[in-house]
């Protein structure tokens, strides 16, 4: 018979997992609305406006539509892979959050119990996230392959090449941060970013790793398939790329994955380079608020970029990945190493 404390701990973890998954499942609902509104205002129009005040119920309407649409699978598709591909894409997108901390600790007032704001503090957190995040690409490749359509196939091939080339740069840019903070745990990385340098510069990694941040951000844009690197679903030449044959809920799983990936990229940027939940200079310490605000800013930045830039061509994308980002990230590691010495 395990003692009561262990039981409480286990119960707590289960509750946390459920809460985090629920948040992640519902997050794309406001995000789609926000993205359309941002698009609308950038493009001098209103965005959704009909369903509910300021179109706020639009995502709900979309959800109903997606649920009741006919779920078509092409006749010659590989039925099993076709069904599983969206799950392959979606599960890793959720699994990543097992290692992502949203804050340090809070005390729940009534039962007076300290609760950590993360599911687990792995000592190899960063490694886990990059590895699990990388699995997501299987969903895209398999989705493209199983559809038995040339457009989808090309989208799948593009995504595999793109993910591999940018994952390397992404990982290498994280190494700089790992070297300066001497830890793979995200919690430690954030803790080390508190305080200031010389009393007036926040001790965030962006200050000592500007190149690392630039590489990380560009590679993250490519990793999450957004303009200017949204080649796997290149509307212009591939119609919708890897998910061209998907409809209804299966399609919405891919959408969900993409939005979650965008959130993950923002969260990682904030944790690795922008001090996590540490408040900027001389501001009151409200960890949750600062964390959400910073993440929100980066999500907005991703949307802003999407509605401003055209997209690269496939070979140009590879050139950037292999000829610019990779050498630059190696140089960054070298410089960081020399600096540490």
């Amino acid at each position: 018979m395990p003692d009561i404390n262990t039981l409480i701990e286990v119960a707590l973890i289960i509750v946390k997992v459920i809460v985090v998954s629920l948040i992640l499942f519902t997050l794309p609902i406001p995000l789609t609305w926000i993205e359309r509104k941002v698009a609308g205002h950038i493009q001098v129009r209103l965005g959704p406006f009909r369903v509910g005040p300021h179109g706020i119920l639009q995502p709900v309407a979309d959800m109903i539509k997606l649920m009741f649409k006919e779920d078509i699978a092409p006749d010659k598709a590989d039925k099993w892979l076709f069904k599983f591909a969206p799950l392959f894409a979606m599960v890793p997108a959720f699994a990543v959050y097992a290692a992502i901390p949203f804050g340090d600790k809070i005390t729940i007032p009534i039962i007076n119990k300290e609760v950590t704001l993360y599911i687990s503090d792995m000592n190899v957190g960063i490694l886990y996230i990059l590895a699990v995040g990388g699995i997501s690409v299987y969903g895209i490749i398999l989705g493209g392959w199983a559809s038995n359509s040339k457009y989808a196939l090309l989208g799948g091939i593009r995504s595999s090449a793109q993910m591999i080339s940018y994952e390397i740069a992404l990982t290498f840019s994280c190494i700089g941060v790992v070297m300066t903070s001497n830890s793979l745990s995200l919690l430690d990385i954030v803790k080390l970013q508190s305080g200031t340098i010389l009393g007036f510069i926040p001790h965030w990694n962006i200050i000592c790793q500007p190149i690392g941040f630039a590489i990380f951000f560009i590679a993250a844009l490519a990793e999450i398939n957004r303009i200017p690197f949204d080649l796997p679903e290149d509307e212009g030449s591939l119609a919708a790329g890897y998910h061209v044959e998907y409809s209804a809920m299966k399609f919405s799983f891919f959408m969900l994955t993409e939005y979650l990936a965008m959130v993950t990229a923002s969260v990682l940027t904030v944790i690795l380079f922008f001090g996590g939940w540490n408040a900027p200079l001389f501001m009151p310490e409200i960890p949750i608020f600062w964390f959400v605000a910073k993440v929100g800013f980066f999500i907005y930045l991703f949307m802003w970029i999407r509605f401003t830039l055209p997209r690269y061509r496939y070979d140009q994308l590879m050139t950037i990945g292999w000829k610019i980002l990779l050498p630059l990230s190696l140089l960054n590691i070298l410089l960081t190493g020399l600096f540490l010495l």
Partner: protein
């Protein structure tokens, strides 16, 4: 668990298809595709993403326009021309009307000539705006499309003011124009012409200096001047190769010889030159409109020739003779002298010409439309050779085909 089962499935799947052979793929692009500008269908033979051969396949929007013309009275065909190049319909009206007038040997009033130039240049702006907007959208810069359509909307409002219609106008008629300009029109149009170059600066800010836009367009879809001429290309595509050929300057019609404007010319014959050219042409069009508005003479919008031009509405109600003329024209049309003519204009897409053969009756014996989109489409294969799949999109956008016209 799920992962393991998935990987297991994949391995099983691979095991089933053991012979792996590489071969070229043929991609059917269109006719339903977001960036084939309507119903262009292309067979793309590709090696990976490299194009070996691009074969355009047209005809999905064929409506037999030329045959229809043979069964209609001369003046009844004008609305059909609107549906040819529907992004800038006024130009089509103009080319047809000029051809019929040449056949009849009539000369329209000065005011009508100015109004015709005015609307033709306005429609050049609408055509080019659509081209640039759709092009940017195809290459991923969605916002430019909506900015371009915002200004296009202003021109459409002007068209609405002129003739009550926004897209298919049926405004020009044989012998003049259908209605005189509204009193407020001049003011509104000048307002637009002054505002428009600023808006063009806005698009250029988003595109012209943009690294990605340059990378996607510079050196893409290159064609030499000799090839362009031997393929019979015209319009911005020909001028982008450095050939200075513009019918408005070289074989002036209407009042273009009296107006002061430049013909922008490119040098590399690539997509980027075609983009810059169109931007500059819009600025020149604004310049032409401004001059035409300032010099606009008074007078009648139509010539006084009751057998060709129907009398004004109020005369029909009060004047017996007008009523007879009107009835005659509507029921029988007019006879054209025997012979054949060709008249062409510089439409936004290139040389738009109408070749009419008359056997002396009220209906044309044969009408042949020389549509610039149709001719320019030939350039797809030479331009796409050894390019990447994504370049095909840029090339098609830069050729700017409109399928109402290409398929007739």
């Amino acid at each position: 668990m799920l992962l393991t089962s998935g990987i297991l499935l994949l391995t099983l799947h691979m095991a089933n298809n053991q012979e792996i052979a590489t071969k070229e793929i043929t991609l059917n692009m269109g006719p339903q595709h977001p960036s084939t500008h309507g119903v262009l269908h292309m067979f793309l033979d590709m090696k990976g993403e490299k194009i070996i051969k691009a074969t355009p396949d047209i005809g999905y929007l064929h409506r037999g326009t030329e045959k229809i013309a043979e069964n209609l009275l001369y003046h009844q065909f004008v609305p059909y021309t609107d549906r040819l190049e529907y992004w800038s319909a006024m130009g089509n009206n103009l080319a047809y009307v000029l051809a019929v007038e040449k056949l009849l040997g009539i000369e329209v009033t000065e005011r009508a000539k100015y109004i015709r130039v005015l609307v033709a240049e306005l429609s050049r702006i609408t055509g080019h705006l659509t081209c640039i907007g759709a092009w940017a959208l195809d290459l991923g810069a969605m916002t430019v499309l909506l900015y371009a359509f915002r200004e296009r909307e202003m021109v459409l409002d002007l068209f609405e003011m002129i003739c009550g219609a926004r897209v298919t106008h049926n405004y020009l008629r044989i012998g003049g124009v259908r209605y005189d300009l509204q009193p407020l029109f001049k003011e509104k149009c000048l307002e637009f012409v002054d505002l428009f170059p600023k808006k063009l600066d806005e698009y250029e800010q988003l595109l012209t200096g943009n690294r990605i836009w340059l990378k996607r367009n510079k050196g893409v879809g290159v064609i030499s001047a000799e090839d362009a001429i031997s393929l019979g290309l015209s319009g911005p595509i020909l001028r982008s190769t450095g050939v200075k050929w513009d019918i408005r300057k070289d074989e002036p019609y209407l009042i273009y010889d009296r107006l002061d404007f430049d013909i922008p010319v490119g040098e590399n014959g690539d997509c980027f030159d075609r983009y810059v050219l169109r931007m500059q042409e819009m600025r020149q069009a604004a310049r032409i409109i401004k001059q035409a508005l300032e010099q606009l003479p008074d007078g009648k919008p139509c010539i006084d020739m009751p057998e060709v031009v129907p009398p004004p509405r109020k005369n029909i109600e009060t004047n017996m003779e007008s009523l007879i003329h009107h009835f005659k024209l509507v029921s029988h049309g007019f006879k054209a002298p025997k012979g054949e003519v060709y008249a062409s204009i510089e439409a936004p897409k290139g040389e738009l010409g109408f070749y009419i053969v008359s056997d002396g009756s009220e209906r044309p014996f044969r009408v042949k439309i020389k549509a610039p989109s149709f001719v320019n489409l030939q350039a797809i294969d030479p331009m796409c050779k050894d390019a990447y799949l994504a370049d095909v999109v840029a090339v098609v956008s830069s050729l700017d085909p409109v399928f109402g016209e290409a398929d007739k």
